[in-house]
Symmetry: C2
Subunit: 290 residues, 2 copies
C-alpha cells in the first residue's frame, strides 16, 4: 500500500509482519531453514485487514517468506560461502543466497503448522527474531519444485554430514547456561558441527589434541569441548567451560557482557576436567586432522 515508483526504479516496501523466535544471533540460524528444527511465529501487524488476507492459507504445507536481511547494510560482488571444498575461494553473490546483496531480500520456504488470526506458526525457518517480513506466498509444487535442478558451482560440493551427539554431562551444563541467559548451546553445536567439524575458516574452532581429535568451539563467552570420530562421521560434545581467562575473571576486571559473576560460580561448581586443560593451538588451513 505504501509502494511507489518515481520512474527512477526505486520501490518502498513496508514490513507487514515480524518473525518471532528465540533465535536472536546470526550464529543461531542454519544456512538454510530446512536444516533446523526450531519453530517460530510470523506475527502480522494489526488493523490492516491482514487477518482476512491470511484466511485461506490454512491447508498449505509450506509457504514462502520474503523478508529483509535487516542486520546487513552493504553489498559486495563476491562472498565467501560457508562451504566445504572451496577453501578461501569467493563466489559471486547472485550465485549464492548470502545476505550481502544489492537489495537485502531473503527468501525461505518454511513449513506452515497453523494460522490463527494474525499469527502463523512455522518451522524450518532460517530467520532471526525480529526479521521484518515483506510478503507471504503459498508454496505451489507445480511452479516451485524442481528437485533435479543443477546447481552450478555447488554441484559436488555438498560436504559430508556428521552426526552430533551431546554427552549427558555437557547437556546438563548447557541447560544451566540456557537458564541463565537463554543461550541455546545445543542448537549452536548442531549447526556448527554437523558439517566440517574442524574447519576454522568461518568458525571459532581450536585444536586441543590433534591425535585424540579433541577440539573446542567458541560461542560468545563459552567454549564447547568435543571430539571427532572421522571414520564414523560422528561428533561427540563432551564439556562446556568458560571462554574467559583467569585474568579476565579477576574480581575487578571489566564485565561488558554482565556475565562474569555467573562464569565464576559456574567454573567453581564445574571445574574443567584435566584432559581438556591444554592450550588451544590454532590449526592451519588445509592441515590434515585425521
Amino acid at each position: 500500500m505504501d509502494q511507489t515508483t518515481d520512474g527512477t526504479g526505486k520501490f518502498t516496501f513496508e514490513a507487514i509482519a515480524y518473525y518471532r523466535s528465540d533465535r536472536r544471533f546470526r550464529f543461531e540460524v542454519p544456512r538454510q531453514g530446512v536444516l533446523t528444527h526450531s519453530g517460530g511465529i510470523v506475527e502480522f501487524l494489526p488493523h490492516r485487514n491482514f487477518d482476512q488476507a491470511l484466511r485461506d492459507l490454512e491447508g498449505f504445507d509450506r509457504i514462502w517468506l520474503i523478508y529483509t536481511f535487516h542486520l546487513n547494510s552493504h553489498w559486495k560482488p563476491f562472498v565467501r560461502p560457508p562451504r566445504a571444498g572451496l577453501g578461501k575461494k569467493k563466489v559471486s553473490v547472485f550465485a549464492t543466497r548470502a545476505p550481502h546483496r544489492p537489495n537485502m531480500i531473503g527468501l525461505s520456504c518454511v513449513r506452515l503448522h497453523h494460522v490463527k488470526g494474525l499469527r502463523l506458526q512455522v518451522s524450518e525457518a532460517d530467520l532471526l527474531d525480529g526479521t521484518p517480513i515483506l510478503d507471504v506466498k503459498p508454496y505451489l509444487p507445480y511452479c516451485d519444485s524442481f528437485p533435479d535442478a543443477q546447481t552450478g558451482w555447488l554441484q559436488g560440493l555438498q560436504p559430508e554430514h556428521f552426526q552430533v551427539s551431546i554427552h549427558r554431562e555437557a547437556r546438563e551444563l548447557m541447560r544451566e547456561i540456557y537458564e541463565f541467559n537463554r543461550l541455546d548451546l545445543a542448537n549452536f553445536c548442531q549447526l556448527q558441527l554437523e558439517y566440517e567439524p574442524a574447519n576454522n575458516h568461518n568458525k571459532r574452532i581450536r585444536v586441543i589434541d590433534s591425535e585424540a581429535c579433541l577440539f573446542f568451539l567458541g560461542c560468545r563467552t563459552w567454549r564447547i569441548y568435543y571430539c571427532v570420530d572421522w571414520d564414523q562421521r560422528h561428533v561427540e560434545v563432551l564439556w562446556v567451560a568458560t571462554g574467559y581467562s583467569a585474568e579476565e575473571l579477576a574480581p575487578n576486571a571489566p564485565d561488558p557482557y554482565h556475565d562474569k559473576a555467573f562464569h565464576r560460580s559456574f567454573m567453581q561448581r564445574h571445574p574443567l576436567p584435566e584432559q581438556f586443560d591444554k592450550p588451544g593451538r590454532v590449526p592451519r588451513p588445509g592441515e590434515s586432522w585425521s
Copy 2:
C-alpha cells in the same frame, strides 16, 4: 545499497535489472512461468559491478527472480483467482500468488540458459517486458524443492488440460497480424484455451453455436474462432477476424488504436467464412456446453 530502515519498518529497494521480452500485455503471460515456453532477457544495470556479482551463476539450471508487479498499485484482502471450480468465490490474497498484495513483490523460478556479462537468457518466465527485478538467487533443490507439499484450497482444483492446436489457415492469419503490430495471437490462444476453454468469467469468450461447440475469444480488437472437442480434451483454433462491427469500420469512425485501416484491408482479403457468421450469445455461468 540504497536500503534504509528508519525504525518504521519501511525499506527502499532499487531495480537492479529489467526484464526484456516481446510480451507487453498482462493477457500475454501465463499464470505461472512454467506454463509458457517464451524466453526473455534479464538485463542488469551497467556501472554497478553486477557483471562480477553474476559470474558464478552459469551452471545453475534455474534461478529465482524477485521482482515488482509494477503495473499494480493497490492491494485487497481477497482476490478472484483464474481457477476452475471456484465459481465466483474469492480467496484471501496471501493464499494466492496474485499481484494485488500489500507489498507488490513477485517470485518466479525461471530456467537459466546462459549468462553473458550483464544479460541472463531465461525462459519459462511469467514476467512482462519492463518488469523491474530486485534480486536474483540460485535455485537450490535441497531448500527450495518440496514436490509433495499440500496446497490447501488449490488441492483438487487443478483444471483439466486441453491440447490447443491452431489450424494452418488460422496460423497464416495470425502471422499477418503479428507482422502488422507484434500481437502474438498464437501465444494468447495457448494461454487462454488450454484450461477451461468455455469459461467466460475471466475471459472474453462467446458462444457461436453451442451444438457444434463453436466459440470465439476476444483479444484486443480481434476475434479468434475455435471449436472444442470435450471428449478428446482438444481445442482447435480455426479462424481470426476483426472484432469491430461494420459500423465501427465505417470510413469516418474514430480509430483510437490506429488499426482500422489494417482491419478493413484484412477483412477484404480474408472474409469471414459463413459458418462463423452468427451473432455471439453470452453463455450463462455453469451452463453445460457439451
